[in-house]
């Protein structure tokens, strides 16, 4: 894969966020956006598997860990802009919305989609991660060195 430019990096960030979002939240923020663009499917939502890989000893040779379910979808807006989605799980509606969001993020509507869909999803993710991290932090061990017998 080639060196990533800024545009691709931004697209990677929102597509990655959409892949990890949960369906009910995505449906909710998508509803709040209130845009129903004309589109056609280049690839109707399709459920499949991806083989997840790890590395021996975390750093060595790659090995197959097992598969995960993924749903993908590609759409083309009336304007000709193409949107893609690969989302975790088996929800076709999530994949359809994610592909439309990806397409709209490449149009003049990008700012409003960013503010109404992407930013809230990112905030929800950040806050749920922070809540887990805070509980983990509370289980961090503080060691006390006991006084030993020898001088």
């Amino acid at each position: 894969m080639e060196e990533m430019n800024d545009r691709n990096a931004a697209r990677k960030a929102w597509m990655s966020l959409l892949a990890k979002s949960d369906t009910s939240t995505l449906t909710q923020v998508w509803g709040a956006l209130g845009i129903a663009p004309d589109f056609s499917y280049l690839r109707a939502p399709e459920i499949g598997g991806v083989m997840v890989r790890g590395r021996a000893g975390a750093v060595g040779a790659a090995f197959n860990l097992g598969e995960m379910t993924v749903t993908r979808c590609s759409v083309k807006l009336a304007s000709g802009v193409v949107g893609h989605a690969y989302v975790q799980g088996r929800d076709k509606e999530q994949a359809r919305i994610a592909a439309l969001v990806d397409a709209l993020m490449q149009t003049k509507d990008a700012a409003v989609v960013q503010a109404t869909v992407i930013d809230p999803l990112a905030e929800i993710r950040r806050s749920s991660q922070a809540s887990r991290a805070a509980k983990a932090a509370a289980t961090k061990v503080d060691f006390f060195t006991m006084v030993r017998g020898e001088d």
């Binding site: 894969m1 080639e2 990533m4 691709n8 697209r11 990677k12 597509m15 990655s16 892949a19 990890k20 399709e46 459920i47 499949g48 598997g49 991806v50 083989m51 997840v52 890989r53 790890g54 590395r55 021996a56 000893g57 975390a58 750093v59 060595g60 040779a61 790659a62 090995f63 197959n64 860990l65 097992g66 598969e67 995960m68 379910t69 993924v70 993908r72 590609s74 893609h84 690969y86 989302v87 975790q88 799980g89 088996r90 991660q129 922070a130 809540s131 887990r132 991290a133 805070a134 509980k135 983990a136 932090a137 509370a138 289980t139 961090k140 061990v141 060691f143």
Partner: protein
Amino acid sequence: MYVAVKGGEKAIDNAHAWLAEERRGDTSIAELSVSQIREQLALAVNRVMAEGSLYDPDLAALAIKQSRGDLIEAIFLIRAYRTTLPRFGGSNPVDTEQMICDRRVSATFKDAPGGQVLGPTFDYTHRLLDFKLAADGEVPQAPSAEIAQADTPHIMSFLDRENLIQTEPEGPETPPDLTRSPLELPATRSLRLQALTRGDEGFILGMAYSTQRGYARNHAFVAELRIGAVSVEMDIPELGFAIDIGEITLTECETVNQFKGSKTEPPQFTRGYGLVFGMTERKAISMALVDRALRWKELGEDNVGAPAQDEEFVLYHADNIQATGFLEHIKLPHYVDFQSELELIRKLRRAAMGEQEAVE
């Protein structure tokens, strides 16, 4: 004599109808939902995902409900479903260094950078039945603390800096896949790790325990055990770059093993590795011990003939779906096979009795 037997369709249908009724149990008791199983029997769900070799908590929970809690039956259902999925591709290897850890402990370094984080563990509980759980009750909120923004580097990297630990060799970009081609021996380490991570927890635990008790003892310390979320990234051909396609919870165990050196290797620490879907700590530790035992050849160690060193024995018996398929088929009708056995034993017996009479 060959006798074709047909029949039993009605009995089978009725048996399955009764199974459905028994699965539901007493209808005066509320039915269990799939999301309840997913949320409240999470470790069973994790085991079904790991051994079913498919990360999808909702499907695993459904399989557990359908199988009435028989986890091997649930794993069977997941394996069968998995074969129906088109394969979109393979991910880039997950970067466990970037794991967002719920738990991270080291048995070798007290002051590991990033600290020792216990997470939601059964360790240090008293293993007394908690009768409060039998009554409905609100769970008090778990305490929180300020998050320290510290990296949690792998413990092994410190030993690596001093050259005290064996280095892990590189391998091909696309590893061999058990689900695409049958297991052939000798297996590469990549293939062994795939077989171990989807292998039966009880079997892998037993093999690991045998190494601790002295059958190819490998003196393992848990250098690090971490549980948490990692992003899964895949190259997307239509984009020309990689994106995250999801996030999964993994358990990773790295062992550091005493090693006095061999004909080919200097004295150093060696390593075993376990990486398993979900929060599956016992399995990950077991996997690391068995991985290490199976590495005797590449480390120039002696084969002491221990079961855990025997790649053929371990890899061909670790899969509980293969095992249960072959084991359980013997309860299905074998009338013709047995008929021939019966004929044979009667004939042998007649001959033996005849000889005996002649002697008398």
